[in-house]
Symmetry: C2
Subunit: 68 residues, 2 copies
Amino acid sequence: MSEIATITVDGMTCGHCATSVREEISEIAGVRKVDVDVPSGRVDITSDAPLDPAAVGAAVAEAGYSVR
Amino acid sequence: MSEIATITVDGMTCGHCATSVREEISEIAGVRKVDVDVPSGRVDITSDAPLDPAAVGAAVAEAGYSVR
């Protein structure tokens, strides 16, 4: 089984931003897939088990953005 | 002596974009400094000798943008 969490990330403007967010979130243990839609800020995260929202928020902050 | 050339690059939206453009232009032989202003698209290039505009255009294109 896998979990899918959806968050909205503010401040992404281009594909580089998406790459930064994707890379940081992908480093969280258990994350298998990260889909980023820049215009809407929507980020779908597929993982092996439920994620700690604080870890996701920290990863997004590490990339230089914030979760809405 | 050094030369300073100013170009305007379209399509940069964030600091990642600026980094991409700076890195590609910096790879041109003789380039010493590249200053990028994202909001205006202005890029000031300091070099040891006059640059080939085609080489600059190719570098900008390689980064994924275009010279106005």
